[in-house]
Symmetry: C6
Subunit: 199 residues, 6 copies
């Protein structure tokens, strides 16, 4: 492990790019495993749920609930498949570079050129994907409880509200920190380049 | 493996932060795998459980049990999704730093700035998530045994009580050790800084 | 980690082949895990879906939907099995070479000789496989919602359309970048060989 | 790999503690993966088993069998959740220490302070958890075979008996070896300390 | 990473055997994970499929289809279990040798002595196992679609045909490359031994 | 990687024990993952199979088939749980030793003292466990096909017979090789000790 002595060397533009490569790689890896599993569970839920109650005496499920279920399931799967596609396509190109441990090859990695697309798509799909899974379970509770005890479904929804707020609040905090961090890093990079110019 | 000779060097503030980085990373990794699996099993339970008995002669499930089932399932999934969100968002930033093995970069890791949020949210979600999974199975036993043999459900609940107490007792012991450990480490850090000042 | 000084050495034809080996290996690894899981979930969906509604009063599923379901499921499984076959057959040959860390053995790896087949088959099967999984869920929604609420199925399909466009757009961007990258690398290689000739 | 020459150095109290750290870490890791999977399968069994036969002509399940099923399922899940809780809480603290490869930090790991609780809780939960899973399957056989062919359930139980005896016998042998091993190591440590005192 | 200078050293008979060890190890590892998962999904399919339609008005499934399903399922599971058995029995012996990184121990590994059995059994079981999984899904489609819409089953089969041809074509190409590669390597080895004799 | 020069050093009794440690470790690791998964699938099969056909016109399942199913399922789970227990109990003790890479500690590993128990129990449980899983699927085919088409079940059994013979033949070959190998190694060790005595 190197100490603080060579910290100036570790601020060069190639090294900054190398660090971004490691960050993008770690992000995509974290996303791919979870996505395949959660999308698979969502598919099983669609196949096994019973929407048309055969009991003639029980109430029919209301239309808005069915609309919500259709929308939520489709988006949940689509969003996780998008995260999986990005992981499967971009990750190998990054890993091939990072496994060689050669700093000068960092420019050939696609993580800088495709940065905007990846960051946006990945951020959306991960945060949205987890949020949608939570909402999906709430909708499944509604479908199961509707003809038995509507009040239980209301309680379940009431419990979910603070969690959704917590999710959005956490996402905002995290996004701000990320932006602030990126800004600082960029400023450092520019400053350094300025200093190099003036010398 | 370095020996005791350079132990003084390993007490510097940068190194303490480096160790905290490794601790937070290990915590988040341990949480993410379990959370996705347990939340998925909970979703399958919601989809496949049959709440409305078609047999007209069997008793209807009591309302408090249904309320409890709705509350427990929603919280179980919400709590595990929260742990998963935190893992997916924060972990890549830490891994990108720790994989480079450069001590001076430790300040750029988000584990210090977001310490309070992470520790609280993670601790709650892991301990709570495992406790809720245990309670969920007890409720599922109640739903399955209610119209068959109520006494079996009472026995199952009676068995669960000492385990829940053991859980809470373990969580308290663990929390105390953690607080004591943090206090000691902080005191050491401050003491060292004091000594550096006076020299 | 080596620095920019020896970057010229890292452009030799053997090293370029070594890098291609790492890229192919990473691609195949990323594909194999996801493929087995998604194909398994697709099989479970086929086994557990109920196509013939026993309720005499509900509408029968339309023929085009059933055709679409049969086509999509068969292709989904076939495409993932193809990706799995390629991974299982080619990957061991590459890993045996890359684990020895000897540059001169790179010519004995099959990744150059079978490049065209692998790249085409893998690219198709991964992108197509993920796209088909998304379409499969949409078809399952149609089957489940058909006799309950047709409008919900239309909404689910409408949500899926922008995602499919996004998928195809992303695949095109990614393919272009890949082609451009390959072209540049090849040009570099030829240029270098030319220079070596003239010296 | 170091040879026998420096074996005396490897008997110091810090090194003994370091070895215990590695042992505890390996134990907890082995437990956590299995626990989440087996507990999940147990939950699926509770949800999908059908306890009340609708066929009026078939016999009702006897009460002791239902009591046994309720007790076994609850304990199985509770015991695995306890193992999972311990793994998730203690493991990160150990990993953070062991990943730094610094011998002098071994005292800050919680594996010595919480040794008694961990060893007891973990040993019970792993051995008990696997034993209970085996008994659970036997009970499930009883429930499924009761109204069809009682003799088959008796045979299944008869087969299980030697395995349970083998389990308990193995656990006793293993426990004795462990105790003997711990005693020897401790005696060595004390002896060494004595020798250091007299010099 | 060693360069071309010592390439002659890397052609010795011990080293060739060392490389074969790595190749066999990688093959067996790739097979074992997939086999357990696919065989498990096949078992679930057998348990949950409903062969006897209770609706008296729907057609009974034809005998050849049922024969095909019985044959395909049994072979699918048998072939994957064979691959799993070979992996579980042979792999540990190889890993124990290759983890020590000592070239002279390569003769004690069983991969040379049992080469014929392993290569044949593994090759058959992997390629056949993946092909059979694909056919199994087609048969499941036939069973599900038979009483609903026979044309959809015909279309599904028609789609499968080019994939099966692609599979067999790929297997032949791959087998030829393997044979060619083995022949070249063996020729090199013999040539080298000849040269050593004449010196 | 060390070459042939120091091969004499690698035949010492401590090193032989070190190699046995690696072999036992690799065996136990290979067993534990497969066992938990296959036992879980077997449990799902017991829960979801329907033994009592409600259709009054279909034949009742014969008693020997039910006996066989009860025996096979119980043994399958018991055998895999035994393999899991051994893995979970012994593996951590070995890993703690092997991760330190200190040759002189090899005597403290339990793999020599408990060799007979482990080898016998593990060998039986792995080979038997995989064989029983194959037989279990054949029995499930019988249960599903009995009231539909008995001939299909006969064909499935006929296909299984050569595979079972292949299994037993492979197990015998493998066992002989193992015994031969152990004998050779032991003879070498004794010879070496003799030579050391005479010098």
């Amino acid at each position: 492990m190197s100490t603080q002595g060579d910290s100036i060397h570790h601020q060069g533009p190639a090294f900054l790019s190398w660090r971004k490569l490691h960050l993008s790689k770690a992000k995509l890896k974290a996303a791919s495993n979870t996505s395949a599993l959660l999308a698979g569970f969502a598919m099983v839920a669609v196949v096994e749920i019973q929407l048309n109650n055969n009991n003639s005496d029980s109430e029919q499920l209301p239309k808005p609930l069915l609309f919500l279920f259709a929308i939520c399931t489709t988006m949940l799967v689509a969003v996780h498949m998008l995260a999986l596609l990005i992981s499967t396509c971009i990750l190998p190109n990054m890993e091939a570079i990072s496994n060689l441990h050669i700093l000068s090859l960092v420019n050939e990695s696609p993580h800088e050129k495709m940065h905007m697309y990846i960051e946006l798509a990945w951020g959306c799909s991960t945060v949205l994907g987890i949020l949608l899974f939570m909402v999906e379970v709430a909708i499944l509770c509604w479908i199961q409880f509707y003809s038995v005890l509507k009040e239980a479904a209301y309680v379940a929804t009431a419990i979910l509200v603070p969690f959704v707020i917590l999710f959005i609040w956490f996402a905002i905090i995290f996004y701000r920190n990320l932006v602030a961090h990126t800004y600082e890093t960029r400023k450092c990079g520019i400053q350094e380049l300025e200093e190099l110019k003036h010398v």
